[in-house]
């Protein structure tokens, strides 16, 4: 192999393959790149704690209605895709309120521990559970430091057509992937803007001209437990994280 290391040769072959993928096969016939989750994008949320009212649960209600995860009034076992967390600084007595959901980590521990590959990160950064192959072992729930995932303990009927859910599988915030794929925004973002304080914005973290990048550059943002190095896609501002 001309004395080249094997991985370099392999890379060349791959580059060749990539170049041919877009070739014109015949006049009028081209190999189109498959559509779907775009790896150039990195979907995320930015939550402004200063606009989030302590007693407001609009985002939680909107998520529940959108994805149909209303429970059985049993808080210990009911699924919970998003919840409000109130924080208090004991030194000053100042309080914050934040919605917390799956943080859509860049290095998600739930994906690392999944024994079947059901827990996965899409090319555009959205972390999901493929319930077709989830065996309900709940390792991911143990691994998640944000308590983002829930287990479905009971038989479910009347699911939403775009949000399948079933007993024996783990689930969490999907960042309303059905809306994102249709060019929309998550239900919590929409509801917070129309009925809440407009505290949540969604967008592509990789887009330097996007709302999130602009706000992040202007105000500075934090991530929950950034010391863990998981690089969540959910950013917070206005809270001492």
């Amino acid at each position: 192999m001309n004395g080249q290391p094997m991985d370099k040769v392999r890379r060349k072959v791959l580059a060749c393959a990539a170049a041919t993928a877009g070739l014109v096969l015949a006049p009028g016939v081209t190999l189109l790149a498959a559509q779907g989750a775009d790896s150039k994008k990195r979907w995320g949320l930015l939550i402004d704690a200063s606009k989030c009212a302590k007693d407001c649960e609009v985002c939680v209600v909107a998520c529940r209605d959108e994805n149909g995860w209303s429970g059985h009034q049993r808080p210990a076992t009911d699924p919970q895709w998003i919840r409000k967390v109130n924080l208090r600084d004991p030194a000053t007595g100042f309080t914050w309120s934040l919605p917390v959901m799956c943080q859509h980590c860049t290095s998600p521990p739930c994906v690392d521990v999944c024994p079947t590959g059901a827990s996965f990160k899409r090319a555009d950064g959205i972390v999901l559970v493929d319930k077709h192959i989830c065996i309900g072992c709940r390792y991911c729930m143990m691994a998640c430091p944000y308590k983002g995932r829930s287990f479905v303990h009971e038989k479910i009927t009347n699911q939403k057509p775009y949000a399948p859910r079933g007993m024996g599988t783990v689930e969490s915030c999907t960042m309303c992937v059905h809306r994102i794929d249709a060019g929309g925004v998550p239900a919590c973002v929409e509801a917070c803007a129309s009925q809440g304080g407009g505290a949540i914005i969604s967008g592509d973290l990789n887009d330097p001209s996007g709302d999130i990048a602009r706000e992040a550059a202007k105000y500075g943002v934090g991530r929950i437990r950034s010391d863990l190095g998981l690089e969540p896609g959910v950013l917070y501002r206005g809270a001492p994280l």
């Binding site: 498959a34 779907g36 989750a37 209605d65 493929d130 009927t157 057509p161 399948p164 859910r165 794929d181």
Partner: protein
Amino acid sequence: MIRSGIILVFLAVFLAGPPASSAEQGGVPFPVLAKAQGEKCVAPAEDMRRNHGDYLLHQRDETARLGIRGGKYSLKKCIECHASPDAEAAGAATVRPFCAACHDYAAVSINCFECHTPKASGGNPKP
């Protein structure tokens, strides 16, 4: 000997006539499928009868994992087109009777509808 046996079986099958006559001859009745609402299925009926499971399995992975939406073999579209009144769902239009017609007949147990809703959008409208 074996060869002539096979030919005999073939002849017997052909002489027995089309399968529709099975019930008339005292055999097990063939499943009766409800008429679909659409004009035409995404593929010929013979193809769909044999391969719908593979098509759905392939597309489910593309949609769930790669985010490729709007494929040809969509479970949602099956549900919309093949929904009929379902006693199990209090008369709401679901795809269950259509699926069950053959799957019960062939003792196939599928679990799509443990997670996916079998209801057509009329029964569960998108907000």
